[in-house]
Amino acid sequence: MLRPFTLHRPTSADEACALLAGLGDDAAVYAGGTELLLLMKLGLLRPRHLVDVKRIPGFGDIVDGPRLAIGAAVTHRTVEQSPLVRARCALVGAVARHVANVRVRNVGTVGGNLAFADPHSDLATLFLTLDATLELVSPRGRREMPLDEFVRGPWETARAADELLASVRLAPWPSRSYAAYVKFGVHERPTLAVAVVLALDGTAATGGDRIRDARIAVGCVGPRPVRMAAAEAALTGASIGDVEAAARAAGDAAAERVDPADDLYGSADYKRDMVAVFVRRALRIAAARARGVEPAERFPHAVVA
């Protein structure tokens, strides 16, 4: 059962922000409700007003451009099925296909997922490798903020009380980039998630098998998803045909960098070890894809996208 609240259905961002500004702590932003209504049922959140953002023009759109803009109220399912997402960054659609279960994907939104900042978020981890920025609107105007700054910690973001998350903007990888996303866990939400991207040197015509630029993000194990600079550096210049030594070094560097906590998903030591294992595995998969091979190997309790 839910405690009573008043439902507001603004039809513009200005109207929504004015409501949020006027209602203060009594209001919560509502879209799919897959996170919000759960916490309200548990009594952990008790807003007396919900501000539904699904009727705000543009919030449900995916727009192409130099960067791909996904509206805050776009559902995971829409991302999964979007031809535009598939064309610009197929892995985003593939990861959306594995968020939670089909009922959550049908209703839950990209903006809700990011703004809730649950540490076990698939999207936040993947989006770090796409240099995601968030568009925030408020009565004071618009601002854009890197995802890394937006997510401050578990369930904590840089969003002000009267601000709305309008969209997330992704910078698709350059051509000759090969990526993999691997998540592991026996619960509904992943215990750990790894996103890796390997960009090769050369051009499609000239070829080239050296890693020019590597991106690695690890999420779910710590308080927030993190890009792994040292692990990325360990891969730069490595040959895609012989990535094993660099992948091991990157896995070890990532394990050192993460900040895992003991919880029901596992001990901190266990998670640290698993980070090394899954960074290595994700890199092997991305490297195989760079060679035109889709590895058949699968791992227990893991999803590969």
């Binding site: 439902l7 409700g33 897959t34 296909r97 279960n101 089909v102 009922r103 959550v104 049908n106 209703v107």
Partner: protein
């Protein structure tokens, strides 16, 4: 708030509170008991109903969201006394044990077959992820869905 959903093919005019959950409106308001309250956290699938053809967890879905939309519960799946092809396939495959998950399994499968008339076993397993059978009788459930798909495109239709 006044809402006008079409529930199992019939237009309803309902007065509901903003905080009313769809599951409570269906079970207590309309006496449609097919959708079950179980985990109450969108993990198990026992409360699954279709809204405009999409599977949702009625336990965590505001009833007001169904205004002007079509809601399908398991009670609307059969055509009178004639079972829906999925229901028939479940009976024939022995895909029902205690029956608690069955309504959710049927509706989730119905939503999948409307999108993908000939799914592979892997695709069925992917779509049913998050639909839990407490008797663990998954093999026959998946067999039944595949059999219904083989028997023709009607398995994705109904209401």
């Amino acid at each position: 708030m006044k809402i006008r959903p079409v529930v199992n093919g019939r237009l309803r005019e309902l007065e509901v509170e903003a905080h009313a959950l769809l599951l409570d409106v269906l079970r207590d308001g309309l006496d449609l008991k097919g959708a079950k309250r179980s985990c109450d956290t969108q993990v198990c699938g026992a409360c699954t109903v279709l809204v405009d053809g999409l599977a949702v967890s009625a336990c965590t879905y505001l009833a007001v969201e169904t205004d002007g939309r079509a809601v399908l519960t398991v009670e609307g799946l059969a055509d009178g006394e004639t079972l829906h092809p999925l229901q028939r396939a479940f009976v024939e495959a022995g895909a029902v044990q205690c029956g608690f998950c069955t309504s959710g399994m049927l509706l989730t499968a119905r939503a999948m077959l409307a999108e993908n008339a000939r799914p592979s076993r892997g695709e069925v397993l992917h779509y049913l992820r998050g639909s839990l059978c407490r008797c663990t009788g998954y093999r026959k459930i998946v067999d039944a869905v595949l059999a219904a798909a083989e028997n023709g495109p009607a398995a994705g239709n109904g209401q």
